[in-house]
Subunit: 139 residues, 3 copies
């Protein structure tokens, strides 16, 4: 069994952001030498997400608006978590909707994707250094 572990680093300028990391992950699959296996990509922070969807800016705006409706940032005092001095309770909820991780099949040495699948890092409490993990296992 082969394996590869790498950490991607992010430091977004805005509180919320959606970054396409597909190419970075593809390069790591190649680097791993794994032909048949699984690729796990997960946020290492509990206010961020890794998810698969379409690389279409309008859709990302829809996601953002929708998440803000389901789990609004303000009023900050509506969340008990924020009494600890934080203001990011909404980010924990938003990330829960979008998901922590994706597991992608590797077939013939490549991410086995449908036509529009792209991997995104979703940031909900940015403006600081955060990481995602890529773990590849297989043969």
């Amino acid at each position: 069994m082969k394996s590869l572990t790498e950490y991607l680093v992010f430091h977004t300028k805005t509180r919320r952001d959606y970054i396409n990391i597909t190419e970075q992950v593809e390069k790591l699959v190649k680097k791993s030498g794994v032909k048949e296996g699984l690729c796990l990509v997960n946020a290492m922070h509990i206010t961020a997400s890794v998810f698969i969807n379409d690389d279409e800016r309008g859709l990302h705006n829809d996601f953002d608006k929708w998440l803000e409706k389901i789990a609004p940032f303000e009023p900050i005092s509506q969340y008990q978590h924020n009494r600890t001095g934080e203001d990011n309770a909404d980010a924990h909820l938003k990330r829960t909707i979008m998901g922590r991780e994706v597991v992608v099949a590797i077939t013939g040495g490549k991410l086995d994707f449908g036509p529009w699948e792209q991997i995104f890092y979703g940031e909900f409490d940015g403006r600081r250094r955060k990481r995602a993990l890529v773990k590849i296992i297989g043969e």
Copy 2:
């Protein structure tokens, strides 16, 4: 390490549908010869879902009604994504709630399931050919 890759094809008659694929996946586990390992099942389209829940028609109706409330199809113009000529922005959101994939343990050559766990393909923008991926790795 053994591995198996197969693609399941769907073409639903209705825009939204929920299809039990447990038996199909079980057959592939058997075919793979894997006794201890992991089985990934994921939608290959970003407006569809693979999830695990109960095979109870009333519950599926509850899911459907609930998803339509959280991410309504209409008005179509409420979503920026639909300005690209699409009308399926809601399907991207619905699939996000239900999830892209499941990872199931294989123990003793079988899907290691609790009493009511069943795997479903959830379609949110159907009436066309779409696929799900089954990837099995183990020994």
Copy 3:
């Protein structure tokens, strides 16, 4: 390839509960002898969840309140599933938001976690015996 399969048992006193199971999972990783691999942890019941977030009681209260708003327990008759004699349709929906499973990387013989990541069993229809599965594969 090494593998390990274990079942965690829960019997909560309340209908809903959030239990930190990180230590139990860490012990199993050690027991497995796997240095590089993947660890799957999933609820075996379709009204329970395994998820990763912060071990902060205020946040758990926020989750609980938020889930009750998105998928309220009452009125029981609002859900078609409950016409089967059940009263737990809301628990199926709540678990869907929180997720069935997590997949965690094992690196150097340990769960490869970010600073605040902790694994929780989320119960939405408790007061009875239920299980979660831990499956570890790797080398």
